[in-house]
């Protein structure tokens, strides 16, 4: 072991140690200081993690720890994204979780361990490290979903998530074991070359590919492996929903890119067709079923399914520009979704969940600023200019057209237009409906730090627009070195 080995996984080590420290510290501090210290330390840890990921990033892949992990700009960008979005999650969910008794040491520790899992996923160059990272994240997510032990909905959601997630892990592992049997290597960067060298029937390798793909698609919640998504989004406490709706998507992108585009790149023609079907039915099902939802968390769940379908379009082009556009898409999606859940969290108060769409009627009259931020975020999710959501969709569509799949782009546009309906319905409810009288109404009382971040987050979807081209350049630079 050399210094190099340590530097490659330094952010992971720091965050894991701090998570252990916070977990133990929480037991010894007096009750009054627990929350403050845990919260502050977690934010500092995430900042340090993001900082270390930048400082020790290398443009070209540097392998460490016997090649199990690597450090390149792709993993650096995604690690920073994961740390920052988890930081936002903590800031946003403070008021909500505090009012429900969820704001405790375990919450911070689980969030941080989840971050470690995600970072391992983004940095893995080995099927084994990819799998342990995935399981670390999954275990944290199952627990965070079930964190409200007195809620039946949360327990049910966690149960579904756990059983289906364990099944998906099993399928993924089976696929990986077949890959190992066929190629004799577990290193992702060697898979691609070894798998084409394998002579003989293509059936075993197709089977391995399908099993791996099913496992991966399940984890990111693409149709037809999406059954858990709506229930988990709706059933879990919103402070956990915002966590599992954002950062894990970045990690999911990383493992899809590493395993499919890099590791199984030589089988691209085989998985492109499969991804095409999956992404189009994800777009269709997500966008159409979301229209029928009356619960905003459930609606955002179906919206997540549709967005996953959209970013898979970028992957299935099989080209660097497509991968880069998918990466930009998922980063932008994470920012916007964070804001949307942030508004929901800020509007929730003790005993008020703010999760029904009708709760938002007339929000503009009572809380114009919250309504305005929500409007920007909804426009961005729908992909309406001049928001960054529009740019994200545009760049993916551009890549799809350039890859010669114009009809796919047309289908995606049509389905996105259908999808715009339900985002705009929220806007309509907030601006043109009368103030809800049947219930006490929502209170927009976020903590000071959450208020500031929420404003930044909301305005960013418009203000960042002039510089958004930089993001694509960054993503392209990160992905180009891989291929």
């Amino acid at each position: 072991m050399t210094n190099q080995d340590i530097l490659v996984v330094l952010p992971e080590i720091v965050i894991a140690l701090m998570a252990c420290f916070i977990l133990v510290l929480d037991l010894y501090l007096p009750a009054t200081k627990k929350k403050k210290f845990g919260y502050g330390l977690s934010l500092v840890t995430l900042m340090v993690g993001a900082g270390l990921s930048i400082v020790y990033s290398e443009p070209a892949p540097v392998y460490g720890l016997n090649g199990l992990v690597l450090m390149d700009s792709l993993s650096a960008i995604l690690k920073v994204g994961i740390c920052i979005s988890t930081g936002f999650v903590l800031v946003y969910s403070r008021g909500y979780a505090d009012a429900r008794g969820l704001w405790k040491g375990e919450f911070f520790a689980l969030a941080l361990f989840g971050v470690v899992g995600m970072m391992v996923m983004t940095a893995s160059n080995h099927l084994l490290s990819l799998y342990v990272g995935l399981e670390l994240l999954a275990l944290c997510l199952y627990t965070m979903v079930a964190l409200r032990i007195d809620s039946t909905a949360a327990s049910e959601a966690a149960m579904k998530y756990f059983v289906l997630g364990a099944l998906a892990s099993g399928i993924l592992l089976y696929g990986m074991s077949l890959l190992y049997g066929l190629t004799g290597t577990l290193y992702i960067n060697e898979l691609s070359a070894s798998i084409v060298r394998h002579d003989g029937s293509t059936l075993p390798r197709t089977m391995a590919l399908i099993l791996v793909l099913v496992g991966l698609l399940f984890k990111i919640g693409a149709v037809p492996f999406h059954m858990w998504v709506p229930d988990v989004y709706e059933g879990s406490p919103t402070s956990s929903t915002v966590y599992l709706a954002t950062a894990p998507k970045l990690a999911g992108f990383a493992i899809i890119l590493r395993l499919l585009a890099d590791g199984l790149g030589s089988l691209a023609t085989e998985w492109q067709g499969m991804l095409l079907v999956v992404s189009i039915i994800s777009l269709a099902l997500g966008n159409i079923i979301a229209i029928a939802q009356s619960n905003i968390k459930r609606m955002l769940a179906y919206s997540a399914i549709a967005h996953v379908g959209f970013f898979l379009l970028g992957i299935l082009t099989g080209e660097v520009s497509g991968y880069a556009s998918a990466m930009a898409y998922i980063l932008i999606y994470a920012v916007v979704t964070l804001g949307a859940f942030g508004v929901i969290l800020a509007l929730s108060s003790k005993g008020v969940e703010a999760d029904l769409i009708e709760d938002y009627s007339g929000l503009n009259q009572s809380h114009p600023w919250a309504a305005f931020i929500m409007l920007l975020l909804m426009f961005s999710l729908a992909g309406i200019p001049p928001t960054i959501g529009f740019y994200a969709k545009l760049s993916v569509l551009q890549a799809v057209v350039n890859a010669g799949m114009t009809w796919v782009a047309v289908v995606a546009v049509v389905l996105s237009v259908i999808g715009a309906f339900y985002y705009l319905r929220i806007v309509k409810v907030m601006y043109f409906d009368d103030l809800a009288t049947s219930h006490p109404g929502l209170q927009f009382r976020p903590k000071q730090d959450a208020r500031i971040l929420l404003t930044i987050n909301g305005l960013a979807v418009v203000v960042l627009m002039p510089w958004i081209g930089k993001l694509t350049t960054l993503c392209e630079g990160a992905i180009e070195v891989l291929f």
Binding site: M1, V24, L27
Partner: protein, 118 residues
């Protein structure tokens, strides 16, 4: 390598053989004269009131789950103990870090009172 496990196989054969012989011998040799009273369910002189299964506290399962987790940890210790001579100080430290992480878990468990029976 399998030859090393021959004693285990012999033990298995003898143990299961002995078990079968004893059970069969008991069945064959013992007097066996059931009647209705002998076979009826019995609970302190009364007919049985209720099913013998009842709701148990979730704490029982907590203890069992924690046992499983530390059992898994032990499973990691076996290959380490066997290979310790060859993996040197690096392997030793690797295991120490692993154990340290789990000690954090143990402290958590202890301080939370998961090992106490209120």
């Amino acid at each position: 390598m399998l030859a090393n496990y021959l004693p285990v196989l012999l033990f298995l054969i003898v143990a299961s053989g002995l078990g079968v012989v004893l059970l069969v011998a008991g069945k064959l040799l013992s007097p066996h004269r059931p009647n209705e009273q002998k076979l009826s369910p019995y609970e302190c002189g009364f007919e049985a009131f209720e099913d013998n299964r009842m709701k148990f506290d979730v704490r029982y399962y907590l203890v069992a789950i924690l046992f499983i987790i530390f059992d898994l940890e032990i499973a990691f210790l076996f290959p380490w103990a066997v290979a310790l001579d060859d993996i040197g100080i690096f392997g030793f430290l690797a295991m120490m870090i692993f154990l340290l992480v789990l000690v954090a878990g143990f402290i958590y468990e202890w301080m939370k009172g998961a090992l106490e029976w209120e």
